[in-house]
Amino acid sequence: MDLEEQYYKIFRYCCLKVKRTAIAEDLTQETFLRYFSQSTYIELGKQTAYLYTIARNLCNDYFSKQIYWEELKDDVPYTEGDTDMKLTVRQAVEMLPKDLQEIVLLRFVNEVPVKDIAAFMELSRFAVNRRIKDALKRLKEVLREEDFS
């Protein structure tokens, strides 16, 4: 496994979840520390799904601790060099249900194989593929509404 690449992808995943780059990076590092601490499991062939499982649980932990104390603000710096098109696409993704957002990020942005997404989300491959199609259909509709075609 390419650690550098996975670090980047887990960071991106955490950013989508917690919407704060500093927190996302802390959670990414915590994910890898927990992953490394279990060296027995590292070469078992499902490393990617395992990493994402740790990351998701850590993000959920973070929310359960923070959400009642402060209002989260989106500080993810996508704005540098952004075009209207990119902003619109991100807005379109954010309009999707949470589970579809997660699948879109995992499959299209982080390029996680369907089998790993299925293991991570505890779904069958068929269900993952169906949701990917659903997400694409909804994105297409939203982007058309935004006069993006």
């Binding site: 650690l3 550098e4 670090y7 980047y8 960071f11 991106r12 950013c15 989508l16 780059t21 996302a24 990076e25 990414t28 590092q29 890898f32 520390l33 927990r34 490394f36 601490s37 279990q38 060296s39 027995t40 499991y41 590292i42 070469e43 078992l44 062939g45 499902k46 395992y50 499982t53 740790i54 649980n57 850590l58 993810v76 710096p77 996508y78 540098e80 060099g81 952004d82 098109m85 990119k86 902003l87 696409v89 991100r90 993704v93 879109v104 990020l105 299209f108 942005v109 694409l136 994105l139 297409k140 982007l143 058309r144 993006f148 075609s149």
Partner: protein
């Protein structure tokens, strides 16, 4: 832009999330203490887990095989020597089976606890190491036979490979059928049958070790090799791995 093409949407989504760059990645990865054992180190390291008695038994079998070949060659230069060597070959496999069965018996936990490779990988590495040992012994026997007989080395190799591969296949089939600790005894029985069969093959088929049957020998090697690969892949797939301890992240 034509949004009817799904690939374009995928590309758009990917590009829209690109600019994110983590700040502390190089520092973190530099300092992180993650397991750095390479596969080569792991592979070589497994040699020490093969018991000393396995090496000794294999060497003893090899020396005995050479001794019997030497004795047999007095009576009938070619056939007896080949038959004697063929009869010994299944027992090379038996020594390896006993070692691999030990791994199976204990589920290789003793190794899996201390390293980061899966049970399937460990099993494969151990089978490769024992396979290399067996092939070295076979090569030694073949070269010795070459000096004792007037048969070409390639043909000797083929004649010895057939009982070897046949025993490997039968023992692997047994290993996949029976999960009990007595698997070594079953395999011993199969090795005995193959060994005895080798002694009587030429009584059933006259001139079986002559050039006219070489095509069949070659064909047998090819088929047995294919079956062996298929069996090994199946065993590795079935070996699975330990389930993740998801409570870690709870």
């Amino acid at each position: 832009m034509n949004l009817s093409d799904n690939r374009k949407i995928v590309k758009l989504v990917k590009e829209s999330y690109e600019p994110l760059v983590p700040k502390n990645k190089p520092d973190f990865l530099k300092k992180a203490e993650y397991p750095k054992l390479s596969f080569k180190e792991f592979f070589i390291g497994q040699i020490q887990y093969i018991r000393l008695r396995t090496w000794l038994v294999s060497i003893l079998l090899f020396v005995s095989a050479l001794f019997i070949i030497e004795l047999s060659s007095f009576y009938n230069m070619n056939v007896s020597a080949i038959k004697a060597a063929s009869a010994f070959v299944p027992f090379f496999v038996l020594a390896a089976v006993a070692e691999t069965a030990r791994s199976k018996q204990y589920g290789m936990k003793e190794l899996e606890m201390t390293c980061r490779f899966s049970f399937g990988t460990l099993l494969l590495v151990k089978m490769i190491l024992l396979g290399i040992l067996n092939l070295l012994l076979l090569s030694g026997c073949s070269i010795f036979l070459r000096f004792q007989t007037d048969i070409k080395l390639f043909r000797i190799g083929i004649y010895l490979l057939v009982p070897f591969l046949l025993t490997c296949n039968l023992t692997l089939i047994l290993a996949s059928l029976f999960k009990s600790r007595e698997i070594t005894y079953f395999c011993g029985f199969v090795c005995g049958i193959v060994s005895v069969s080798c002694l009587f093959t030429d009584a059933l088929v006259i001139d079986i070790y002559s050039a006219k049957y070489d095509v069949y020998w070659l064909l047998s090697v090819g088929v047995l090799m294919l079956v062996l690969v298929q069996k090994i892949v199946q065993i590795i797939k079935n070996s699975g791995g330990i389930l993740w301890n998801l409570s870690l992240t709870g």
